[in-house]
Symmetry: D2
Subunit: 384 residues, 4 copies
Amino acid sequence: MAVSRVRLGMIGGGAGAFIGKVHRQAAALAGGIDLVAGAFSRDPASNAETGRDCGLSAQRVYASWQALLDGEGRLDPAERINLLAIVTPNHLHAPISGAALRAGIHVFCEKPAALSSAEITELAHLLAQGKALYGLAHTYQGYPMVWQARHMVQAGAIGRLRKLHVEYPQGWLSDDLAGQGNRQAAWRGDPQLAGQGGCIGDIGTHAFSLAEFVSGQRIERICAHLATHVPGRALDDDCAMLFTTEQGASGVLLASQVCAGEENALKIRLYGDKGGLEWRQEEPNSLIHRALDQPMRVLRAGANHGWLCDEALRRIRLPAGHPEGYLEAMANLYADFALAIGGSRRAAAALPGIETGVRGMAFIEAALASHTSEAKWTPLGAYP
Amino acid sequence: MAVSRVRLGMIGGGAGAFIGKVHRQAAALAGGIDLVAGAFSRDPASNAETGRDCGLSAQRVYASWQALLDGEGRLDPAERINLLAIVTPNHLHAPISGAALRAGIHVFCEKPAALSSAEITELAHLLAQGKALYGLAHTYQGYPMVWQARHMVQAGAIGRLRKLHVEYPQGWLSDDLAGQGNRQAAWRGDPQLAGQGGCIGDIGTHAFSLAEFVSGQRIERICAHLATHVPGRALDDDCAMLFTTEQGASGVLLASQVCAGEENALKIRLYGDKGGLEWRQEEPNSLIHRALDQPMRVLRAGANHGWLCDEALRRIRLPAGHPEGYLEAMANLYADFALAIGGSRRAAAALPGIETGVRGMAFIEAALASHTSEAKWTPLGAYP
Amino acid sequence: MAVSRVRLGMIGGGAGAFIGKVHRQAAALAGGIDLVAGAFSRDPASNAETGRDCGLSAQRVYASWQALLDGEGRLDPAERINLLAIVTPNHLHAPISGAALRAGIHVFCEKPAALSSAEITELAHLLAQGKALYGLAHTYQGYPMVWQARHMVQAGAIGRLRKLHVEYPQGWLSDDLAGQGNRQAAWRGDPQLAGQGGCIGDIGTHAFSLAEFVSGQRIERICAHLATHVPGRALDDDCAMLFTTEQGASGVLLASQVCAGEENALKIRLYGDKGGLEWRQEEPNSLIHRALDQPMRVLRAGANHGWLCDEALRRIRLPAGHPEGYLEAMANLYADFALAIGGSRRAAAALPGIETGVRGMAFIEAALASHTSEAKWTPLGAYP
Amino acid sequence: MAVSRVRLGMIGGGAGAFIGKVHRQAAALAGGIDLVAGAFSRDPASNAETGRDCGLSAQRVYASWQALLDGEGRLDPAERINLLAIVTPNHLHAPISGAALRAGIHVFCEKPAALSSAEITELAHLLAQGKALYGLAHTYQGYPMVWQARHMVQAGAIGRLRKLHVEYPQGWLSDDLAGQGNRQAAWRGDPQLAGQGGCIGDIGTHAFSLAEFVSGQRIERICAHLATHVPGRALDDDCAMLFTTEQGASGVLLASQVCAGEENALKIRLYGDKGGLEWRQEEPNSLIHRALDQPMRVLRAGANHGWLCDEALRRIRLPAGHPEGYLEAMANLYADFALAIGGSRRAAAALPGIETGVRGMAFIEAALASHTSEAKWTPLGAYP
C-alpha cells in the first residue's frame, strides 16, 4: 500500500525554544513526514531563519498562526498541510487547535490541550464531528517499554494491582531561572501563558497520564500538597499527592522541579498481588519485572525477543543494546500520526488524544483544589 | 585505656527468630562483647539449644526474662550482665526494659520502644534517673554513609532543605504468610503482640527515624493513608503520607510490605537549594551527591578518603570496595554501646535512644489518627 | 550564512538490511540532508519499494550502483547528489568509494573502508587529490561523551595514561544464525563478502578505533587469540588481545559475538597516574571519572553544564535526563558531514576518515597474523 | 549434636595490619570460635595491646610464632588451640603452616600458601599424612552467589562454556604508597616478604582461583604481560593475560593495582552456548543470568527463594535486601572450618585447600615465565 507523505506545518518553535526542535527532529526521524510550512516566531528575523534552516520556501513561512491557516487554506488541497504541530506556550494551544480542526487540518498539540475546562470541552465537541484527528504530545507514551509494561499489566503479569507509585523529580528550576532571563522558565512561570498549574501542569500531568496509561486504571480522588519553593515564583514548583483509583489501588504521585540535581527522572512502579513492574525514563530501554515466584527479570528493548508484545516491538528501531531515547519516543508518536492519517485505526487509537487532555485538565484542577482544601480527599471532577 | 569487656544478656531470639541471631552476630562482630546469659525461648528445648550454640553455661540459660533478671541479680556484680538485648515481640519491650533499667542494667531494645504513650513515658522517667543507658536498635542509623549524609546536610552541602522523600518498600507480606504458618509474619500481624501499627510500626518507623535523623528536622504534621491489602490481615500492610517539617520542608513517606518483589529497599532523598543527596540501604556503601554547580558525585565508603566525616569513618571497617552491610551496621550500634558503657559520651550520644522511641510512638499514633481522619493534616503529638 | 542542503544518495540498504535504515534515519535526524537517489537492492521490487518509502522519484531509484553514478552524472550539478552513503556488504565498499570519489562525489562509507591494503592504498591516493570528502561510519565516535572522554584525556584529567581496556561483547551470533537464514549473519560470515575478519573486522575494529580515538595513542603491537566457537562458521566469532601503545601504555581488547546474552556492550576504560575514565555505549549519556583525589564523579550529557567541552556540547540535542542514543550518535556524523560539505574545517576534521580505515585495516591484518603466529608480539604494519 | 567450640590462635595481625582484624571479625561473626592465643606482632607493646583488645589472657599472648606453638603445646589438649590463623607477610606462610601441621594443629592460612614450589610440595606431603586440616583464605569463595554461579555452570544453565573473563582492577597502588610509609604497600612490594609476584600474586591469584572455581575448568596455558608502572617499585603492579582451558574455553584475566580510582572491582563473566553469567564482588548479592531464550535475570541473595542452591543458601544469613559483604564471606570460610573440625566432610570439601595453593603457585610461576618469554603460550606447570 502506498502511503502518501504527510505535509506538516508548525506553530511555534523558533530559535531558543526547546520543544519545537524536538518535534521537527522527531518528525524527520519518524519518516514519511515533510515539514512544509511554519509560523515559528513573532520575531520576523527569527521566523525567517528557522524557516530557512528547515528548508522551507519563504512563501510558506508565515508571520502568525492565523496567517498560516489562511495561507495554507488558499493552496491546493494536495499541497496544503494536512497536519499541524502546535508547540507554542500553553495559552495558545486550544485556540489554534480549534481553528485548525475547523479547517479540517489534523492537530498534534503539545500538552496541555487547553487552559480551562471550557476550552477543552469545546475542543472535544469539535472532535466529535470527526473532521480531523487530534493528538496530544505525551512523549513518554511513545516509549516501547511503556507499552510493554501496560501490556503486562493487562495480561495479568502482576495480578490485581494494589500499589501505583509514580514520580517525576526534576531540578532545573531550583534557582530562579526566569529571573535570570531563561525563556523556557519564564513562560512556564507566567499564569497567563502557562495556566494555573506550574509544576503540576508541566510535568505532574506527565506522571498522571503515565500512571493511568500503564495501569489501565483511573485515579478517583487525590490528596495534594503543592509548594512554591523559589521566592518570586508565581506558580507551584513542586507537588505531591496521595491517591486511590476507581478499582481500589492506591498510590503516590510526586512531581517537582526543585529536586536539585535531578534531571528528568520520571519513574513508575506498579505492584500487584503477583508481582511488580518498574520503568525509568532515564534508562528507557529496560523494564524490571519482579514476579513473586521467580527471580527479578530485566526486559530489554530490542527487536528479536519473543517476550515483547507487538505494540512494544513496533516502536523499536534497533537491535538490543543500541540505545534509543527521547527523540525516538516522540518520533513514535509522529509515526503513529502518519499511519493514522493514512487510515490506520490501530495507530489512531494508540495516540494520546483529547480524552488524555481532559483527564489532565481534571487532574490539574483537582490538585489545585485539593491543595487549598482542608479535607483529605478531593475527587477528580467529571468532564464531557 | 583498658576497656572492660561487656557482659551481654539476651531476651528472645530462639530458633526461628530472625532478629535475635542478627543481634548476636552483630555483637560478636563489634568486638569486646561477650554473650553470657540468655532467656531465648519459652520452649525449654529451644532455649537450651540456643544457649549451647552460643557457648553459654547452662546455669545462665534462664526459663524466662524474669528468671534471668533474678538470676543475674544474684551474681557478683563483676560477673553479672551489664547489657541486656531485648529481641522479643513488641509487647514485651517496655516491661522488660523497665525491669532491667530498674536493676541498673543497660538496655539495648529492638524497636518499638513500647506499645503506648503511657509505657514510653514511664521508660523516659526511669531513664531520667540516670541509672543505666538505653539504646534502640534502629539499625539503619549504624550505616556510615547515613552519618555522612547527615554530616553533609549539617555542613550545608545541599543548602536549605526543601524536599525530603523517604520510602521503604518491601514485598515479603504480599501473600498471607501468617496464614501459612510463618512466625515472623504471625506476630507482626497480631495487635496484641505487635501493637496497633502493622507496616507503619514495623518499617514505617524506620523510614521516619531515618528522615528525621539525616535531615536534622522534625516532622510536624502528616496526612496519612493506610491500607490492608491482604484479606484476613488485622493490621495495615501499607502506608503512604505527605508531611511537612517544623522548618518548612515538605515530603513524602512511603512504607509498604506488599510491594511485590521488593526486598528491603529503604531509600532517602533530600533536596535543598544547593543540591541533593540520595542513599539506598540495598547499596549502602554509596552516597550520591548532586550539587547544582558540579557533576554528580558518588561518595563511597572506604577508610582512606579525605572527604568522609569522622562519624562515617569510625563506622567503616574495610577499604573501599570491600562491601559492608546490614550486620556491620548493627554491629556499629553495639560497638557504640560498648564504648558508651566504657564512658564515651560521644558514643552514648550517637546511639538512638528513648527520644527516638518517643518520636516513633508519636509517628505511629499520628499515622493511625490521620488515616481515619477526614481532615488533611494531623499534627504529631507532643510527648514528654 | 545560508547553508545549502545536502543531496544524499545511498547504495544498499534495501528491505531486511539493518544499517541502511539507520543511515536514513540518522540523516533525517541530522537535518539539512535530503535523500534524493538510491540503489537499495539488486532485487527490483525491493529496490522500488524502498525508494517509494523514502519518497524518492522513480527515476532516481537505480538498478545498480554503476547506474546510479551514471544517472546522477547526467543531471545538473545543482541537482545531482553530492554525498553518497555506502551501506553494502564489505566487498563493495572500496570499489564504490573509488568510483564516487573519482566522480567528485563525497563519500560516507560503512566500515571497513576496504578489504585489503591494496584497495585502501588506492583510496588514500584518490583522496590525496582533494576532489571530495570521505567519511567512515564509526558511529561510536558520534557520541558526545566519547568526545568528552577524549577531551579529558587530552586536558590531563587522568594524567599520563597507563592502562587502556576496551571490550565489545555481543551475543547475537551465539547460535548459527546464518544457517538459520539470517541475512545479516550470512554475509558477515562469508569471506568473499565480509573479508578475512569476522568478529575482528565487524566489531573488533570499533573497539580498536574507539581506543585510539579516546586515548589519543596509537597501538604499536598486539598479541591476539581468535576463535570460531560455532561449528560451520568460516570466520572468527571471537577475539581477545594484549597490546601496548607507542607511548608505553598497555591494555587488553576483547571483542566477541558469542558472549551469550550480551547485547552491544562496548565499553572503554582508561587509567592514568591521576585518575580513570569509564564509558559504556549502552548507557552513553554518562561518563564516569575517578580522580585519585576526589570522589567518583558521573558526568552526564545535557546541554547546560559548565564542565562539558565544546565538542561534547555540540553533539547534544536535549537537556540532561532526556536520553539520546545510537541514532543520535550516527546523526552527529551526518551533521558533521553536512557542515564539512558546507566548508567547516572543524567538522571535516572531526569525521573519522580514511586514516581511521587504514588503521583498522592494519589492525585486522595484524590480528590475523598474530593469531597464527607463535611469537608473542606482532607489530601493527605501516601503511601509506 | 553438640559441636565443641573451636579454640583459635593467630600469628600476625597486630595494629596497622588489615587482614588480621578481618580474620578476627570474621571468626567472631562465624560463631562457635573463640580466639584464645596469639602472636600478633614482633613489637611487644603492639602485641600486648592487640591481645588485650581481643580479651586474651596475657599468658597466651606470645612473643613469636615459635613461642606460641611451644607454649600451646604445653597446655592440656582440651585447652590448647586447635586452629591457627596465619596472617603474616607471605614469606612466613609455609614455615608456620608446616610447623603447625606437624604439631597436629589445623591451619587457616592467608594466601599464597607458600613462596615456592619446593615449599608447597612439602606442605602437600605433610597434609597427605592427614594429621590436620588446612584451609587457604580465598575469601571470595565464601560468597553465596559465587557458589550459585558455580552450581549453575555445573547444572548446565549456560551450556558448554566458551568464554571466561575475569578481571580484578584496583587502584590503591597508583601512587608510591610504600615510599610514603604505608606498611601494607611496603611488604607487598618487597620480594623477600611477598615473593616474586606483586600484583599477580596478591590479587591475580584471586582472579585465577575464582575463574577455576566457578567454571570448574582448569586453565591450561597462558600468555601474560606484566608491568610495573610506578617508578621504584620492585615487583609488578599490573598484569593481563590470554588463556585457554583444558576443556577448550578461552578467556582473559586482568589484574591491576594501578587502575586509578577502582576500588576492589573483582568481576567474573562466563559465556556458554546457552547463556551467560556475571558476578561482581562489589555488589556481591546479585548474580546476573542471561539465558539465550529468556529475559535477563538477576538472582539475589536471600534466604527464601526456591532457585538458590543449597551451597548458596547455607552461606546466607539474612533475608534478601539486607546486604551482606566481605566480612560475611570470610566468616563463611571460618564457619566451614569450624564444621570441618567438627567432622563435616562437606564443609571440609568446601574449603579452599592446598590444591588451590598449588594451582595458585603454578599460576604465578607461569605468569612470570610467560612475561619474559617471546613465545605466545606458556603452559601451567604440573605440581604434585
